[in-house]
Structures are given as structure tokens and as C-alpha cells.
Amino acid sequence: MGNVLRKEVAHAVYNSFFMITWKHWCWTGIAVAHLLIAALHAAHLEEWTGHQQPLIKGLATYGDYTGAGNIFSFFAPAVGNEIAVIYTLAASDSSQRVVRLEGNNTECNRRIQTIYNFFSIEEACPLLAQSCASYMLRRYPGHHVVRVTAVARHVPGMQEYRGGARPEWSPFLVKDYYKR
């Protein structure tokens, strides 16, 4: 009996201190809608519906601005080949130098690597290679031609590795760009 009374008193006191107002309902509704949009985007909403519908476009824009529009496919469904880019620069006196862009800044290297991963998309290759070449020619102004060589590193499976196979680099894009 005492317990029931205590609970009722506690409940009444709690309610007197705190009542749900329309403002609470609104913000809770906004929060739920926001999470629903985040869940839909995480489930690849745009892939099942197409990006052209106005509602989906609106949701995508909302997601882009608030961070509710992300997919979370880190290292999924599979880990791809590592890609590196080597630049061979030639000057007018026939001297050449081979450079890589990666330096001592590990965080910057990570981002360069993330850019290079786009070389695995065939359609992106020519444009990206051109952009990289243009950057290198600007960075090394004494040179008039740059050869962009994109190489992929294939890591054998664990079983093949035990059998003696080793990771191999193989070029998949070699292109020369000239200074205009």
C-alpha cells in the first residue's frame, strides 16, 4: 500500500515538474524524422528509388547538409587493390625525375591515397589523371611533360601467400601530358 502511494506521489510530482508541450512533440518529431532519413540513406535509399524524384532529391539534400545522408560502407563489401601513382617528369634539357606525391604528413598521404582510389573507376581515370598531371606540372615548373603511371598492388590470398605468392604491383594506366 505504502509503495503504491509512494509511486503515485512520485509520478504526480514528476508530471507537475515536467509536462510534454507542443515544443517537445515538435522537436521529438524532428529528431525521429532525422533518424529515419539517416536510416534510409544508410540503406542506400537513392539506389532503390533513383535520384530524380523531387522528394528523394530533397531528402538527399537534407542528408548532405545535416550528415544524415551517408552510407557506411567502410571496407565493405570487400577490400580492393591498393593504388599508387608515379609521376615521371621531363624537362626540356632531357633530364628526368621520378616522383611520388606522398610525403611525411601521414594524414595528407591518407587523403592522397583516397583520391588515387578513384583511379579504380574506369570513367574517372582520364579526368583524374589529367588533373594530377596538371598539378604536377604546376608544382615542378621547369618540366614540360609528365607521365602519369597508375599502378595497382594485388595482394594474394592467405593460402596463395603461404604457397609462395607475393604482392605484385602492375601498371594499369600510363599516359603522357604536355604543358600547353
Binding site: 557506411f72 598539378y135 595482394v155
Partner: protein, 307 residues
């Protein structure tokens, strides 16, 4: 009040402390400052008009309606300053806004400025962005709307904000786990093997792992369990502490073995603010008590020795 309203209220709106949110603001801001300072020297390479990925390419990918640094072109022309100089100016303003946010001054304005500039930088460097940008963006957006100010009284808004963080994280981990589970590499252990054999991630020689495929499988399965199980163990109180520790260990492992320190830190910050704060404070109080006890014992011993 009906049961639904009561449950809804108890879950989303029962008053609670703002401390986890204050921690969230401070930690996210420190992360942003570290990232900004770390990358400042290479800002032109990553975000410049004539950087590794030139502005027209980024614009083509993210769309012209998204805030990006190419919007600065007219400003650069009007001010007779190069776009590269404007990149540095904006980076400086971004870091200043983060400093203001860290200090707790004009929180919403600072968060808004930091979020907007981070969004511009992220869109411009879209091809260079990875997980840490995603979570910085989410974090800064939440700092604009959530009550992240220090010293705020217990309120329903704190609980609502923490619930949003908690549920958002459940979505993130579940989605990430399901996406991984769709690849065969995460079932046969090849995913962790391939990752650790990448020269960009390998900090140590991990080729010995090929001799222990069961260990690679175990690491992959554990990752799937931690990610897919996140919404289950984080809401089941008796398992929450162990789940939180597993998440922290997973991200520490990623930071140490793969060099993804900023990403690891971002995920630990999110999980700590959402679920781990009570455990962190309890551990801290226990440490303080232990230190006091140790100091007292040490003082007593010193007195005895002096006498």
C-alpha cells in the same frame, strides 16, 4: 497520460545531465583542430583551385548547389587576392571558429561557422574525404542544434539529444556491419589480411597472419559481431559496458594497426558521448579516489620516516 506517451516521454524526454554533450562538443572540436592543423600545410594540394583534384571536377561530382570553395572565385576576383590565399583565410576562420566552440563562446554561431566551412572544405576535397570527415560533419551539425553548453541544468533537451546520438550510432554500426557481412572477404578472414597487407595501412609487418587464417577469420567475425550487435548490446544494460569496451578496443586497434588515428578518435568520441560517459566518469572517480588514498598512504609513510 497514456502508456505510449509515458514511454515516449520517459525514453526521449526524461531530464538528464548535459555533461556527455559538453564532452562531445569539446572532444569533436579538439579533433577538428588537430585535423585542421595537421592538414594546413597541404591545404592547397587538397583544397586549392589548382590542387590535385581541380575545382571543376569536385563541382561536377558534388553538384553546384553544395557549398564549396569554388564559390570563392568571384570573391577572389573582387578582392584581388588569389583563390589560394582565400583557401588559407577560410581555413584560418574555420580553426578560429573551432577555437571559439572549444572555449564555449557564442556556441551556436561558432558551431554554425565551423560546420559551414567544414562542409565547404569537405565538398571541395570530396575525393580526398574519408570517414573522419563524415563524422566531423555530423558532429558539428549536432553542435549547432544540441545543448552542448557547459553548466546547463538537467533537462529534457539533453536526453533528446543523447537519444539522437545513440540511435544515429546504432544506424551507423548496423549499416556498416551489414554492408561488410555482404562480402565473402569478411567471412573467410581475407578482409583483414588484405587491409593489413596494404602499404598505406600497414604499420607493422603482418605477413605472419597468413600462417594463422583462423586468427584473421576471428578478427573479421569479431568486427562483424561488434558492428551488427551494436544496437543490441548497447540497449541491453548488463552488456553495455562490455559492448562499449569492445567498440573502444576495435577503434584503438584500427588507430594503432592501420594508422587511422583521427577516425578511431571520432568513433570513440561518438560512442563515449552516446553510451560510455557514465562508465568514463565512474572510472575517473575511482581513479581520483585511488590517487587520494595513495597520496594519504604516501604522506603517512613520509611522516613516519621524518619522525
Amino acid at each position: 497520460m497514456n502508456t505510449f506517451t509515458h514511454t515516449w516521454q520517459a525514453f526521449f524526454l526524461a531530464p538528464s545531465s548535459s555533461r556527455p554533450l559538453v564532452f562531445f562538443r569539446i572532444a569533436i572540436t579538439l579533433l577538428g583542430l588537430s585535423q585542421g592543423i595537421w592538414l594546413a600545410g597541404d591545404a592547397i594540394l587538397l583544397y586549392g583551385e589548382q590542387g590535385l583534384v581541380q575545382w571543376p571536377i569536385s563541382e561536377g561530382i558534388v553538384g553546384a548547389h553544395m557549398p564549396q570553395l569554388s564559390w570563392l572565385k568571384s570573391l577572389a576576383t573582387a578582392t584581388h587576392l588569389s583563390t589560394d590565399k582565400w583557401v588559407f583565410i577560410l581555413l584560418f576562420v574555420y580553426l578560429a571558429a573551432l577555437t571559439g566552440l572549444l572555449a564555449g563562446k557564442c556556441i551556436r554561431v561558432m558551431a554554425l561557422v565551423a560546420w559551414a566551412l567544414h562542409f565547404m572544405l569537405m565538398n571541395t576535397g570530396f575525393m580526398a574525404a574519408y570517414g573522419v570527415e563524415t563524422f566531423m560533419h555530423i558532429g558539428l551539425c549536432y553542435c549547432i542544434v544540441m545543448p552542448v553548453k557547459r553548466g546547463a541544468a538537467d533537462s529534457a533537451w539533453n536526453t533528446l539529444s543523447i537519444r539522437v546520438l545513440q540511435l544515429h550510432l546504432c544506424i551507423v554500426y548496423l549499416a556498416s556491419g551489414i554492408e561488410k557481412s555482404m562480402g565473402i572477404q569478411w567471412w573467410n578472414g581475407e578482409a583483414i589480411w588484405q587491409t593489413l597487407m596494404h602499404t598505406q595501412f600497414s604499420r607493422f609487418d603482418m605477413s605472419w597472419l597468413s600462417e594463422y587464417p583462423w586468427l584473421a577469420r576471428l578478427i573479421c567475425w569479431s568486427t562483424l559481431l561488434v558492428e551488427i550487435g551494436y544496437p543490441v548490446y548497447m540497449w541491453f544494460r548488463p552488456l553495455r559496458l562490455y559492448g562499449y569496451l569492445a567498440v573502444v578496443l576495435l577503434h584503438l586497434g584500427i588507430a594503432i594497426c592501420m594508422g587511422l588515428e583521427l577516425f578511431g578518435a571520432a568513433m570513440i568520441i561518438f560512442s563515449t558521448a552516446a553510451f560510455g560517459w557514465p562508465y568514463v566518469t565512474a572510472a575517473w572517480h575511482r581513479f581520483v579516489q585511488w590517487r587520494k588514498g595513495f597520496s594519504r598512504a604516501f604522506a603517512a609513510t613520509s611522516c613516519y620516516e621524518t619522525v
